[in-house]
Symmetry: C2
Subunit: 670 residues, 2 copies
């Protein structure tokens, strides 16, 4: 069972594509500026276990501001090790080694390893797994250890972490005397499956599976829901709760309101929900690909499918972003997808889309369906990519589809809760693992290509070396050249045909009909075609700008411009007439849209702007009328407003060139 | 300073108008069925101070289910006394007298009088004025006492209540040793102003003013916000909070986040917010009409105006309903006005609209502006009136503009929190007080007519008797006949011209131009016109059905049918083809609309249905397309859907004739 974070090193990026330019920026800049942030904020030294002034800040309860520091360090180490694998960097190497030394020195005799519960509340370990992120931090430490071992080929980090995992394994489980709990923020489950995938550790598999099967048990501990039980043990008031819980016992925020198999809809904190589903996908994959047996495999598969469908069909923005409510950073009722704060919400956290990519990648192993590949690409280019500035020094946590006076379209160099920046760094660091999956089936090699760019993969199949290279300028245009070298082994290539292309593609050389087969968004090139054409070209069509609208039940009667996989937005920097976040800007589907290729002064990358016309609605007349009289009533329903030229840029490009932070993805449909 | 609750008895309703039919129903039925509910639920006997099983129910914290029982009794007594004044009823009289006996017997030596803190937590008086409704209950008791005294002409209820108010006055205030607090649920302030208006009690005025001026003081008690201070005194966790507070210290729910004069927008629980503003209006009125001096009269007037404007222009539904969020039963960001639960909210509590009527009535004394009169009428006919069934036995608490599977359009015979039914009963009981205000100014009599119906007012002006009678079939048509008898005194009549009439009205006999004057939505008939025409007729025009749309920034691109002051809705009982709450029903402004007069089998009242056509949108095609492709794209933006006939009924008429509870006010605009 391979994970993208372990196989990415079999691929290399090349050329000057959008992905390779972003990756260069992270390697050259972000990984260093993030290290600097770890240092100036106190995180870097936290495993020295000294008191930091922020530990005295009790403005937030029960979660203190430093609670996630262990994970910030861990995610940065994980990212650093991926990048070191690609390009050695002395400063980064030194920092990783120093951090590992500090982590080792912070471990307790019994294996326990957590900054907060060592320095601040040493007598309260495991008293609040719902909110206090001990297991979440442990999960990220485990992922860091896997990346560390893979680069350093030593156990300096893995050894203490395995000791910690062993401690956790003794603490949690079904036996008498063990805590029948599970993390309030899922993460460790997917990390444990990665450990199992990497080492075959049966105890890692068992613990991950326990966390999944026990979750939401209404009578798990002494006849009570575990979170009720631990609240009682702490003698906390049941009505005392972090600000992220709208009501008491809102355990749906943690996906613990019901056992997972009984959950009909995806609920709560979006990062938690999707990390949890990544682990569920690994549980199902493990069942299908190894001799690990599940008691209800069909139910787990159906649950995975049901919750994915609910997320994508009812609770996902056109950008691929998820989560509309700020308070619990998550999901709410179906089709509730306002674009910004002044419309009632919109969160679309960066980490949530990183999680969606991880989940889509897992699902593609279970079921090769373009539905998953399309969403993976959508999330990558539109949420993950919009979350970092062109210079690699600033980030977003929240990715709303429209700005407002309260929440402008801007980036920040860091966050007190700093999950997103290092999450981006590790995702881009292991991105090659998401491009394709491959292997051997029935003595034939296969490569399923999910993402197009310029890259090359080399792998062994039945003792033969297979090399597949793709060269393209994706996502600017749809032409992708492939070159396969697979001597002495029959090879099948499957290429994703995005749904938005609506069947428009050409394959050169043109295959005979029996050489190819299109199913569920992938075209399969038979070994016959591939062996006859080691160089072939796929050209995806329908790259003309097109209009998107959200589901009619969102009550968003808006149009959004898209081109290929890229979703566009309007910014005031290009449209300086705009002063109210494009709230009153109307566009029409029948207006001509023209393309213009530009080059970024900051990165040298090409990007395509779209130009069209729009109308600026004035509400003065409307507001002067009797209450509720229709604004367009006097104009025989004709479009009212002043015509203007409007320029759109890719949403991933926003907030890089000054302006006043006014931006919108979906504009009123005229 | 007169209040509608004290002057209503100078007016009588007549004829068979919509208002008089509803009033008859309440008098004959509701006041009795509500008494029955008080009895079967245990409320009736609660002042006997015995234990009731519901007192053991701790499912809600800190507020127990019985916390408002005192106020339920009080509001019913208040209502009963209004109705007794109009029509004596032996059963009701007996019940009021029994209740008063029980209330008297429940009072403590020191004047304290509250069921919960006598029976359940006798040692915790005044420890949580934010949440525990002691002052709210006291306010309603005071209003009951005022009504009781007015009918019974004795002090049997007033005496213990004044003793209680005196106790409160000693407990709360600016002096050392007094609590510098104020109610979490405003109500007592407006009751105290009524007491002042009725008796001139200076201590009542002072206490009401103290509650208003102290509210939101960040350093009121020992240098702390009072609600922080009392939380500390109780040693409660600051993060423990009722489910109605989304975050800790969400004191905006109570309008206590800032001193009132610093509040820029109307926030929080909508009933609390508007009850509070009623008291602010009384504070300003008192300043203007008596010798009570205010330190910042301009600021109080501006605050009143600013918060009214924000409520009406940004936070009010087309029906006049307020409050879009269920959790805190209140307001949120400007223009966030979804129609139903599955769109993200809609509350529109009945009591909140009763409060809006009270506030509008007060404001009309301060500033005779049709803006206030129009909203008073809108709230009456569309929220207050929709809140009761035609048979007077069932009520609504929440008045959403669209049903959903979760919240269908239905009524209930009672609520555990039963504020709304008796609030309706007392509002209708004192409704004559809202029709008009009148008096003497510069030795001339005046009557300002706010609401049209069939009714007569008789009052003394400079020792002369003035009688004004109006006869109409409002709101079914716009013709109102007036007959004035005002011998020996010059009289000015002002009549509201609703904004929706758009200036269409005729006055018969036709006046000379110097005899009338139109300003801010009222036409003033000079004494010259009035004395020459003791019988005159106003006919308001523009009664044809018209379309309304909510503010464009609500993102609700919907059309709503209205006729005169009445807002319409579609129900599945008239349109049995509908099975999804009219979510996909499209109407067009250019479709002909016809009227049909019908007679209700239940009440014999006439009502007018509107008939038009609509289109049923199918989403099957859309959902089969690639993600986000526009549903109308292939149809050249033509209306897509099956054409059908559709019938609309007044929103006040909904949920009376069976059906499946599918209903919608705003339909998609095609």
């Amino acid at each position: 069972m391979s994970h993208p974070q372990s196989v990415f090193s079999q691929s290399t990026f090349g050329g000057k594509t959008l992905l390779s330019i972003r990756r260069d920026t992270i390697q050259k800049t972000s990984i260093h500026t993030q290290l600097e942030q770890l240092k100036v904020t106190g995180r870097y030294d936290c495993f020295k276990l000294k008191w930091h002034p922020v530990y005295d800040d009790h403005a937030m309860w029960p979660v203190p501001f430093h609670l996630f520091w262990d994970s910030d360090i861990a995610k940065w180490i994980e990212a650093a090790c991926y990048w070191l694998q690609e390009n050695y960097d002395k400063e980064i190497d030194k920092a990783v080694q120093e951090l590992v030394d500090m982590i080792r020195s912070a471990q307790h005799e019994d294996g326990y390893l957590n900054v907060h519960y060592t320095v601040v509340e040493p007598d309260k370990r495991w008293t609040n797994v719902k909110d206090m992120h001990e297991l979440y931090n442990a999960g990220h430490m485990l992922e860091a250890a896997l990346a560390h071992k893979s680069f350093y080929k030593n156990d300096l980090l893995m050894e203490p972490i395995l000791k910690y995992i062993n401690h956790i394994d003794k603490t949690f489980g079904p036996k008498k005397g063990q805590r029948h709990g599970y993390p309030g923020h899922p993460e460790i489950e997917l990390a444990l499956f990665r450990l199992y995938g990497s080492t075959g550790s049966q105890s890692a598999y068992n613990l991950a599976r326990y966390f999944l099967e026990e979750r939401g048990n209404p009578k798990g501990q002494d006849g009570k829901h575990y979170y009720d039980w631990e609240t009682e043990q702490r003698r906390d008031n049941f009505w005392a709760r972090p600000d992220s819980y709208p009501e008491h016992r809102s355990y749906w925020v943690n996906q613990a309101h019901l056992p997972i198999l009984e959950q009909k809809t995806i609920e709560g904190h979006s990062v938690r929900a999707v990390y949890l589903l990544v682990a569920v996908a690994d549980l199902v994959l493990t069942h299908q690909m190894t001799d690990q047996k599940l008691s209800a495999p069909k139910e787990w598969t159906e649950t995975l499918s049901r919750l994915w469908d609910n997320m994508v069909d009812q609770k996902m923005y056109l950008t691929g972003g998820i989560g509309s409510i700020k308070q619990w950073e998550g999901f709410t009722v179906d089709h509730y997808l306002p674009q910004g704060t002044d419309e009632g919400g919109c969160y679309s956290e960066t980490c949530a889309s990183v999680a969606v990519m991880m989940l889509a990648e897992r699902l593609l192993h279970l079921d090769l369906d373009g539905r998953y590949g399309d969403i993976m690409e959508l999330s990558l280019y539109n949420v993950v990519m919009t979350a970092m500035s062109l210079d690699g020094k600033e980030f977003t946590y929240v990715n709303q589809l429209a700005s407002s006076d309260e929440d402008k379209s801007v980036r920040y160099d860091w966050f007190w809760c700093a999950c997103c920046p290092p999450n981006l760094a590790r995702l881009y660091g292991s991105l090659a693992g998401y491009l394709w999956d491959y292997g051997v089936q029935d003595a034939r090699a296969y490569v399923n290509v999910h993402l197009y760019t310029t890259a090359k993969v080399t792998f062994e199949a039945d003792g033969k070396t297979v090399v597949l290279e793709q060269i393209s300028n994706w996502p600017l245009d749809g032409k992708v050249d492939f070159q396969l070298s697979a001597p002495d082994i029959q090879t099948t290539i499957r290429l994703r045909l995005p749904a938005w292309a609506r069947g428009h593609y050409t394959l050169t050389p043109n295959p005979d009909s029996e050489q190819v087969n299109v199913s569920k968004g992938y075209i399969t090139l038979s070994p016959a075609y591939v062996s006859a054409n080691s160089f072939f070209t796929l050209e995806i069509g329908n790259f003309e700008p097109r209009y998107l609208s959200p589901h009619p039940h969102t009550n968003q009667r808006t149009l959004t411009l898209a081109r290929g996989p890229i979703v566009y937005c309007a910014e005031d920097v290009d449209n300086p007439w705009e002063t109210n976040h494009f709230k009153d800007t109307i566009i029409r589907r029948d207006s001509p849209v023209t393309e213009e290729k530009r080059v970024s002064e900051q990165t040298g990358e090409e990007y395509i702007v779209l130009k069209s016309k729009c109308w600026q609605r004035s509400l003065k007349d409307w507001e002067a009328k009797p209450r509720g009289e229709d604004p367009e009533m006097d104009a025989a329903d004709q479009l009212v407003g002043e015509e203007r030229a409007i320029v759109f840029v890719p949403y991933y490009f926003r907030a890089n060139r000054g302006g006043n932070g006014h931006m919108r993805v979906g504009l009123l449909k005229g």
